[in-house]
Amino acid sequence: MSDGLMQLLDPEAIVLGSDASTNEEIIRILAGRLEALGYVKSSYADAVVRREMTIPTGLPLERADNVAVPHTDPEHVLKPGIAMGTLIKPVTFANMEDPDEKLPVGFVFLLAINDKDKQIEALQSVMATIQNPDALDGLRSARNLDDVRAVLG
């Protein structure tokens, strides 16, 4: 695997096998990690949750466990970072392209982005992982950081 996503994910911001039962719950867990690690302001979590209601970020991958990439405006971000959560049981996110459609989501990549020109590589890494079914299957069964590293390199 050469996605290189591991270089952009803060190990402290990886939550494996969360039992969160709503999209807001997993967003707040991951946003809490990013805030504690100094990536985002305290306003970030509310901003992401609010934005997810009107401009959702679920991506339909034709799987039982799809991906969501919640994020918000740069003003809430202190420095760029990515948090990742995997869920024991998928939670519901709405489809980015069709907000009326609900998707079961098993993987959440919470993005803290504030400069599009410098964060292209990070976005491409996330996309490459999303588009790789083997990587997602590997992440679903990952139980510790070494497992994640083995998948994301």
């Binding site: 934005r51 401009i55 970020t57 991506l59 339909p60 991958l61 034709e62 990439v69 994020h71 918000t72 405006d73 740069p74 980015m96 392209e97 069709d98 907000p99 993005l111 982005i113 504030n114 599009k116 964060q119 292209i120 976005l123 491409q124 996330v126 996309m127 999303i130 588009q131």
Partner: protein, 95 residues
Amino acid sequence: MSKQKTILFACGTGIATSTAVNVAVTEAMKKRGLTFNAQQAKATEVPGLADSVDFIVSTTPISASVTKPVIKGLAFLTGIGKDKVLDEIEAQLRK
């Protein structure tokens, strides 16, 4: 040689997924021998900007008031149906 076309890439924040789609389309069109001017915006800004671009590629729904062609860009995030969307974009660029 016709005038270089301008594509407006849109998403919710105008910074995250539209950047990813912009890069993916730019690379793919280069392989097809096509270049274009790129702009990025929030979906909510599109109605005010649409007049100055040739067409729009968006990952989120765009107001029905926009009369320029709108191509759905989610395929560049999911990887599903990407070739078909690239063909649509190429057709618009060659118009």
